[in-house]
């Protein structure tokens, strides 16, 4: 059992757990965390597959994919979180108009 197979299999498990959290958890923050988890698992899968048998040198293209994906997940997470916070603020304002706008 080589190292890449171990990491590949665990990456599948992490992706599955992330997707389950994204779909089953009712709280929005848990969905966002699940989305990040799934993205991280896919990155692990890509790099571990690239390190297959016969790979003597570093696979730079897979590393670049994962690096770019990491930065883009952060941008997406920031946007999701600002939507989440604004959503909570707007619903609060709607239910209780006397409360001063946060």
């Amino acid at each position: 059992m080589s190292s890449y197979v171990i990491y590949g299999l665990s990456a599948c498990c992490i992706f599955g757990l992330g997707m389950f959290s994204l779909m089953a958890n009712h709280d929005l923050i848990r969905k966002i965390i699940g989305f990040n988890l799934a993205g991280s698992g896919i990155g692990l899968l890509i790099v571990s597959l690239a390190k297959g048998p016969g790979a003597v040198s570093v696979d730079a293209v897979s590393h670049t994919f994962v690096l770019t994906g990491l930065v883009i997940s952060i941008a997406a997470t920031a946007l999701y979180l600002s939507i989440y916070v604004r959503l909570k603020q707007e619903v609060n304002h709607e239910h209780d108009p006397s409360a001063h706008h946060q």
Binding site: M1, S2, S3, Y4, V5, I6, G8, L9, S10, A11, C13, F15, G16, L17, M19, F20, S21, A24, N25, H26, D27, L28, I29, R30, I32, I33, N36, S40, G43, L44, L45, L49, A50, G52, G54, A55, S57, V58, A60, V61, H63, T64, V66, L70, V71, I72, I74, A75, A76, T77, A78, L79, L81, S82, Y84, V85, R86, K88, N92, Q102
Partner: protein
């Protein structure tokens, strides 16, 4: 393959899957967020084991650090005043049968992926040979930097644009509020005074050394953003009431350097972003602009989204 590395790999992946499992079944949100930060740190170790030190630096700085900080800010803003507020789908909890069926489906997907991993690793479909054949033509020696800026430069250009769009979206959605009170924290000020200058210096070093060793603009930008957040928490940088011109300039300079350099090269070399004999210097200019821009954008993304209530408690 010897037993020590096998043991380390099994232990590390066991920890990773366990942390991921506990993130999913955590009772409250704060535990899930803190476990997620721990997960990011462990992933950094996994990247090192997979011979990907660039990704390791980026994962710890961005995945664990910046994402964790953003999640905690959002959580802190929502608890406190807005805890009792329920959005429509907060109350919608899946019935047990649906949850069980969902977990079965996810398990089937995972098993399918695992079979793919076990069957697919026999064939090496990657672009390693193409990249290695072109490496002597590249001005930089680090293959990841070469692919990022040279061979797949367009992707990095679009990535800078995506970051900028996320910043615009966050600026539209949230308001920046002026803090009411400011608590004195001498220990934090000391920490920021001691830590921030080496962090800024080290981010410059990361950009410079990214040409030949693991490093690069994204890691340096993340470090710069962390230094800025540290200075902000300690009180040295005031919260921007409105986004003034320096912030605007620093945010756009990454995209601007990229497109500007591409246009300049289009005029001199007739192809957009085709590096000339001075390729290393041109790449360094692009990376410097990107580093400043990434640092500013991540700092602003972390800041915006703090409410007045949170500021008065800090």
């Amino acid at each position: 393959m010897d037993y020590l590395s096998l043991g380390i790999d099994l232990l590390l992946t066991g920890i990773l899957v366990t942390i991921a499992f506990f993130i999913v079944v955590a009772k409250d949100n704060l535990s899930a967020i803190i476990l997620f930060i721990a997960y990011g740190l462990m992933m950094g170790l996994a990247w090192v084991r997979l011979s990907a030190p660039d990704i390791a630096i980026a994962e710890i700085a961005l995945g664990a650090g910046v994402t964790g900080a953003m999640l905690i800010h959002a959580f802190a803003q929502v608890t406190g005043g807005l805890d009792h507020v329920k959005i429509a789908f907060d109350q919608f909890e899946l019935p047990r049968l649906a949850r069980a069926w969902l977990s079965v489906c996810c398990a089937l997907v995972v098993i399918g992926l695992m079979l793919t991993v076990l069957l697919m690793f026999k064939h090496n479909h990657s672009l390693v040979d193409v990249v290695n054949a072109q490496m002597p033509n590249s001005p930089v020696k680090n293959p990841v930097t070469a692919v990022l800026l040279n061979f797949r430069g367009f992707d990095t250009l679009m990535e800078m644009a995506v970051l900028f769009c996320a910043l615009c979206g966050t600026l539209i959605l949230t308001d920046a509020h002026v803090p009411k009170t400011h608590h004195e924290r001498p220990l934090l000020r000391l920490l920021a005074l001691v830590l921030a200058p080496p962090m800024i210096l080290f981010s410059g070093y990361l950009v410079w050394v990214g040409a030949d060793s693991p490093g690069g603009a994204f890691q340096a930008g993340a470090l710069l953003a962390s230094a800025a957040v540290l200075l902000f928490i300690a009180g040295f940088i005031k919260r921007p009431e409105k986004i003034t011109m320096p912030y605007k300039v620093f945010s756009i300079i990454g995209l601007g350097c990229f497109i500007g350099m591409g246009a300049f090269l289009a005029m001199s070399e007739e192809v957009f972003l085709k590096y000339s004999s001075d390729g290393a210097l041109q790449m360094l200019l692009i990376e410097l602009g990107s580093m400043v821009s990434i640092g500013t954008i991540l700092f602003l993304l972390l800041l915006l989204g703090k409410s007045k209530q949170f500021d008065s408690m800090s």
